[in-house]
Symmetry: C2
Subunit: 666 residues, 2 copies
């Protein structure tokens, strides 16, 4: 047959024999098409658009009917029939089309944010100096000047600051900059109380940022965002494992350590070290970004120093907040499972031990119950669940799985202990979703060889949460493990092997890794992951059942938590962690806890809404519910004891099986 002319976008026409795969043709034309699944036609990442001409699609997995109508085809599964023009979407566009709804929201300043919404105000003041005819005391003089600038019912001041105002006023020759924190809880914008938290000589230029920091204290991961409160912009982010991890991987073991081993203070110190280190690191990042040489080759004065951070909001689960504040958490662990406190007063950095400006006001966001903390109220707010009329399922998948079901009118919540596996902790080769983490895995269902997606396109170091889910799903779909998570040790691959008395699958050989050691997943890891996903699945099904809302009526599933960016909803459904619903109903939001803390630090209104969420939410105690244990047991399979609940997974299994027959037969 005559060669066919293929034109990729603006490339020179290329002549290939009919039947040539589009990926091969592209390769000949010097064009690289990404094939994460190794050309199995399963990941959809090689999709191209056939703008004219005829092709044969061997598989349209991951393409919708509308996609096909618009000419989309999987390059790895599509053969040239006639002359054709092929458009290759930018990989980024493609990823967004396939995963945008699935990826963490990029941090945009909330629409409409202006500094006027900010309850921390930096106010330049020019005072009249005292005089024999005007002998008002320094504080009255200052307080009046502040109240002439902003509408306050009263302004208060601490003793340490009172001790320095006289000196600062005179040092600045009665030109000073006041930092005033307005009461966030006061409803209106007018006539609310304020606190002077700092006074500096002279007028701080408007070009200097006004720093705040948002903190999410996760059981496994601590995250810090450094924010310029003037612009609302996040200027730097930093995250690391919670240093408490070495004293216990989950909240229960931490509480036990705190109570039984008198470890309250040690735990408090460790998490403070994490936070303070991250704040330092975020400041360093911001400084690096703004390092500009000025006259004479000197660098600019430091852009941000931790002591300049004048405000913080903190989210985190109830145990983490208790431990951070040094409040005994023992009652959280024991029936009837109550916290010491859900709604914290405004505190100062000095009281807590945060290494920022000592009088900075710290708002710990409110929790609801022992296992539904401020991470969830913040997350619900950040997700917009509290403002939608759609029945919405919100999942925060961190070390604990917290689940909220509801809409703007009602909210119910429950918690289930998922463990830290999905954060890469407690797994042999687990790691956080940073450079070198395997975040995507595809396994060839003939060779059982994996294709890896690694963050930063680096040599792999370990597996992050999204990588683990992807790996688990692939192992199940390709038969490396069975529905119970047990290895098929008869498969013809060296990757399934026995080591240290346990079976494992080698994801990357030592020679390919950064560490020079094999990266593998063991049976124990798999068991951990299955238990974790089962807890989550059982949690939301029992929650929905308990209030009589069928899962089918759920219009959207919002997913928060510290998963990586490219979490794949398909894979999460395939392992039975998420309910089997159309993709477009899932929205992965990333770390909604810190996002809520970020919204709260910008806007008092957000803070009030988070308080309202805490007040409105009805907590349902799963441990008081036998049906939870039954649901959990049924979910200890891939994807579930009852495959009928997962029709899309059943279809993929069928497709793969058919493909195998076809290929074997071809």
């Amino acid at each position: 047959m005559a060669g066919k002319q293929i034109v990729f976008d603006q490339s020179e026409p290329l002549t290939v024999p009919p039947g040539t795969r589009l990926t091969e043709a592209a390769g000949q034309a010097g064009i690289f098409i990404n094939q994460p699944c190794g050309g199995q036609g399963r990941c959809g990442r090689c999709a191209v658009q056939v703008t004219s001409g005829q092709v044969r699609r061997r598989s349209t997995l991951r393409l919708s009917a509308k996609d096909v109508e618009q000419g989309y085809a999987l390059a790895c599964q599509t053969l040239v029939l006639e002359d054709a023009h092929i458009h290759i979407p930018a990989q980024e566009t493609l990823e967004r089309r396939l995963t945008s709804d699935l990826s963490a929201a990029t941090i945009a300043v909330p629409a409409g944010y202006t500094y006027e919404q900010q309850s921390l105000r930096r106010i330049p003041l020019s005072l009249l100096p005292p005089h024999m005819d005007d002998q008002r005391d320094d504080w009255s003089r200052l307080a009046l000047a502040i109240r002439q600038e902003i509408d306050l019912s009263q302004v208060s001041v601490s003793l340490p600051l009172l001790r320095k105002i006289g000196t600062v006023l005179r040092e600045g020759n009665w030109q000073v900059t006041a930092y005033v924190a307005l009461d966030e809880t006061a409803a209106g914008e007018h006539d609310r109380p304020g606190i002077l938290i700092d006074l500096q000589p002279g007028h701080v230029p408007d070009t200097e940022p006004l720093w705040g920091v948002c903190v999410d204290v996760g059981t496994t991961t601590v995250t810090v965002w450094l924010v310029d409160l003037l612009s609302g912009q996040v200027e730097a982010q930093a995250a690391e494992y919670n240093r408490q991890l070495r004293l216990g991987e989950d909240v229960i073991s931490r509480i036990i350590f705190a109570t039984k081993h008198d470890g309250q203070e040690e735990l408090r110190t460790l998490v403070l070290q994490s936070i303070n280190t991250l704040i330092d690191r975020a400041c360093t990042k911001a400084n690096l970004q703004h390092r500009e040489p000025v006259n004479g080759g000197q660098t600019k004065p430091e852009y941000c120093h931790p002591q300049q951070i004048m405000k913080a909001t903190i989210a985190g689960n109830s145990t983490m907040i208790h431990l951070l504040l040094g409040i005994p958490a023992g009652s959280i662990r024991l029936s009837p499972f109550v916290t010491a406190v859900n709604k914290l007063p405004v505190l100062t950095a000095a009281e807590i031990g945060l290494a920022i400006y000592p009088a900075a006001q710290i708002q710990c966001l409110p929790g609801v119950a022992s296992y539904v903390g401020a991470d969830i109220t913040a997350g619900v707010h950040a997700s917009g669940l509290d403002k939608t009329d759609l029945v919405t399922l919100f999942l925060d998948i961190g070390t604990n799985g917290e689940i909220v079901l509801g809409n703007q009118d009602w909210l119910v919540t429950c918690a289930c202990s998922a463990g830290p596996a999905f954060e890469g902790a407690g797994v042999h080769d687990g790691m956080r979703a940073t450079h070198g983490a395997i975040e995507e895995v595809w396994i060839d269902n003939h060779t059982y060889e994996p294709s890896l997606g690694v963050i930063g396109h680096a040599q792999p170091k370990g597996l992050c949460g999204s990588g683990l889910i992807s790996l688990l799903a692939e192992m199940f779909l390709t038969g490396v493990i069975d529905k119970g998570g047990h290895f098929n040790t008869t498969l013809p691959t060296k990757r399934i092997r026995r080591r240290d008395n346990s079976w494992e699958y080698v994801v990357a050989w030592a020679a390919e890794t950064q560490t020079g050691r094999d990266i593998a997943i063991t049976y124990v890891d798999i068991d951990n992951l299955i238990r974790a996903k089962a807890a989550i699945y059982a949690g939301f099904t029992v929650l929905a059942d308990s209030i009589g809302v069928p899962l089918e009526t759920v219009a959207q599933v919002l997913i928060g938590g510290s998963f990586g960016k490219y979490i794949n909803v398909e894979k999460a459904v395939q392992i039975g962690m998420l309910p089997d619903m159309p993709w477009e109903q899932f929205h992965f939001l990333g770390n909604t806890s810190v996002l809520g803390a970020y919204q709260a630090i910008l806007n008092g209104n957000s803070q009030r809404q988070i308080n309202a969420i805490a007040d409105r939410m009805t907590y349902i105690e799963l441990s008081a519910d036998n049906s939870f244990y039954e649901a959990f047991t049924s979910a200890l399979f891939l994807p579930h004891t009852d495959l009928q609940r997962f029709p899309s997974v059943a279809k993929v299994l069928a497709d793969l099986s058919a493909q195998e027959v076809t290929q074997n037969g071809s």
Copy 2:
């Protein structure tokens, strides 16, 4: 002539020759009549009542016409004429009649005080324990229970207390006692905010006192009253010299020490030592009074420990308050003489360094200006000046002289530096008005021998303020010194002598004293005292002049300050410290500063009234007024350059002179 029969009260009749002095007759009857002035007929303390019969009164000094009409006579100046019945009033009654208006008010619980007025509440609570059906957090549970007991708009709590509530609730098996401080500034009795300041397991019995402490920080003397807030009763008092004294006797030298010698912290520590020692001492006194053996000879558990004191109010002049709180006071000393702060926020004991319950709320009362502090606002309130329609002059004579003129409608104030002489400091043999202090002196105008009144009827140790005034007046009236304060060195007495190049008058010889050393007053002491009294006199005359209120329209003079109990208004007029007005217009109120702090600790209403006084008072700066210096110079004489301003003193001088003539002629 036949003997006359004299009956003293219920004694056996006594026959004496006519012409016998009543004091002699009483002596023969074995009855002791107190004669502090040594029988000169000047102190009036030997007054008796002739209920029947005839006597001859040689002098009626200090007796009013009405007294004479009622039969009163000075026993030392009265001769028997006929048979007579004589009633001897109890000395105490007599002293009160002569001096009650002049003595410090005894501390009575303010009329109508009930615990309901108290803003510190001790509340026994019986909580429902948490349950799987009631998983509220500990703090919400507790806060609701508190709000069910008292009407509060909200209740807040500090982090340190939050850290312990869970433990206390469980230790008390959900039976606890809450200590709640209501907001004093909130106007109404209902719906105001409160703060939980302590939580104790179990129910504290109603019989246990609820402790508060009132503090007056004087430049020279620190005074502490320990109060049971349940009954309102002052349970113990203690006072000592301010330990800052060794770093400067007046506020100016203290401020200089603080600023020039970096002594802020040292001064703060010293005054805290004074206060904390006094609190300890007051607790010990209260414990001693309540030491009762219980079964088995054991003593009762400690009645009061400083850590049980849950509230404090503090009065004092502006410099003392600044130094106590560690607030730089430098601007107080330098023109235009402004304080850092007049109205302090509510603080905690821990913030200040007070060694009582760390979270106890401390209210420092408000000042008005650099030299009119909280001691004056508290004093004005305690004196009732702010509630009278009489034009009233209020003098607080401590180290500084502060003067208030006004009534319920208007208040003006000024300050003049009197120095610490009237507190017994800065005077060679000065001391505080405690056991062994000479508080009253009478000098025989022939022999120049003194009669001494000593506190506790002990051997003398030194001279307190009232003793110094008394001594100065007597020396002047008897001619030991002239109107300029210079000794008449020609008088035939060994008591006027030269020592260490300076003249002095020996008040007590070494053999009579506790110390075994002579007690004397030197020319330098006299000069100090005259300058101090001149500053006070000039102060109120210039203040009255400046607002055009003639001194004659003043209906009453209220005197606060740390004078001793038996301050003698007559003597104070004789030295020209007080204006020459009828006795009954003077009222010595004692330490009105601590009295105001006492009223404020009991009743939030008092505290609000003191705040209102601070707001209403118009401060007049004497240093900006040339007329002050003139008035001061004119007052540097005994009693004044212009004797016409002191008609009563002129009369005494005339009387004494006439008496001398009579006696010389008899």
